[in-house]
Symmetry: C2
Subunit: 307 residues, 2 copies
Amino acid sequence: MLKESLSGDGSPLYRSAYHLPSQGGKRMRPFLVARSCEIVGGKAESALPAAAAVEALHNFTLVHDDIMDNDLLRRGVPTVHTVWGTPMAILSGDLLFAKAFEILLTSGARSEPLRRSGEALAVATVRLSEGQSLDMSFEERDDVTEAEYLTMISGKTAALFEASAKIGAIIGSGDEESIRRLGEYGWNMGMAFQIFDDYLGLTSKEEVLGKSVGNDIREGKKTLVVIKALQTGLKRQLQPLLGNKNASDADLATLISLMKENGTLDFVRCKAQEYVDSAIDSLSTFPDTSAKRDLKELADYAIWRKK
Amino acid sequence: MLKESLSGDGSPLYRSAYHLPSQGGKRMRPFLVARSCEIVGGKAESALPAAAAVEALHNFTLVHDDIMDNDLLRRGVPTVHTVWGTPMAILSGDLLFAKAFEILLTSGARSEPLRRSGEALAVATVRLSEGQSLDMSFEERDDVTEAEYLTMISGKTAALFEASAKIGAIIGSGDEESIRRLGEYGWNMGMAFQIFDDYLGLTSKEEVLGKSVGNDIREGKKTLVVIKALQTGLKRQLQPLLGNKNASDADLATLISLMKENGTLDFVRCKAQEYVDSAIDSLSTFPDTSAKRDLKELADYAIWRKK
């Protein structure tokens, strides 16, 4: 559906907008929309436009984030601004954003679920922007707390997972309690996903990740791993590498094994597990269906994946 | 309404997003929303959220366009990326975009008019992106035709005027014919506005415009003035200045007076007038109310304004 919507006229605008979606990605958010629709008794097909809309919106944020962070690789291919330049990348992000609302609001579902889904998508995007802004402000600070980090990822990542689950439930005509519970599930799953993502960025391999290991440290990102490492006596080893674009792979590898030894990485992984547990708890009142099993698996996948 | 929605938390994100709206601007689009609501019998108050949404969306496009074109001044103040840097400017544009949909879809009007207004806003933004992309592609070309230029501004400018008028009529519960006619009015007015804007960019004064006279030529923009000048024997004089960031004010002044003499500027002004006439024609079936008089005046203002 996203493909048709972005087939356009073969212009650089449409080709650049379809660059990342054509690489696949994990498609967790559209999956979340479809299964959340099913778990409340709706048909997955009816949620497909909303699922495509959420994926378009997610890709819009990736394209713009890659410009802001000047990341060169994503999903194993050069980022949009690397290929088409920053002006076109800004514009193709904007197009993906607009397409998200176009796909959602013209999908032929009833007006009120569509209006409410659009509201959820817009609110999530406001929170995404706030989260990204916080994340950027952290780069200049050395005193970011765990609580501030959690606020940041609540906006930057969890808000769209929350909205995806809610939108699925709204389109599937779920009752208010189901919509609330699924939103809670999505939010917790998003928190777990992001914490584990930061963890993976240090413990996975470049050929698996599709981006460089330790990039977050080189960019001075204040991830939970970094915040914990600063608190647990690794400040002296971490400081020279944090925000240092030229930090060597060897120095990063040494730091990472110190983080393993002193329990920093275990702490972070456990934190992600706690959020997954909360996510799964939020599903407890739903009957045992294949949609529920899929959502449980998705939550586990969020912290057991390799990339 | 836009002010409250952007009051935020005093962070750079919200301050940068409110930077341009706080400078006022012409506010033509929200005016268009309100009067189009009234002309079909609706109350202007009921259209205020939609009017604020359209203005937020317009400001989002300005912030991003200024980055893409690297413009330094807007509304007499430094552009957002000049003050806050490109990453924050990208993000504050995104926030304005998201706020537009949030304001619109939470405004408390009935679901179907809101869904449809959201659709109109999304479709207009897709067309805006296409128009901006065309405009950027024109910069590398010397053979842009008048027809291509008109297609470009139809997306870049007229689409949002069209959507604004339609949205007003939708919120005001206008019938299909009224919505169609007001859309036509808005589109024609937008065409006139942009053509006249390009004209003003060469014939006004910097202190009135709030930006440099002749900027479009220095940036190599293929405006209707430039396209006509190339066709009417001014190629030799225009070519060395087109896309030349260092073109002198004196050389530009000489070129502009040649354009006056050989009728290029008159041609462009007449073209704008034609669109204004069509815009006013589209209003013919509406009864004579103060809203109708305002919309007629707005169309005239589009081509008689000083900035």
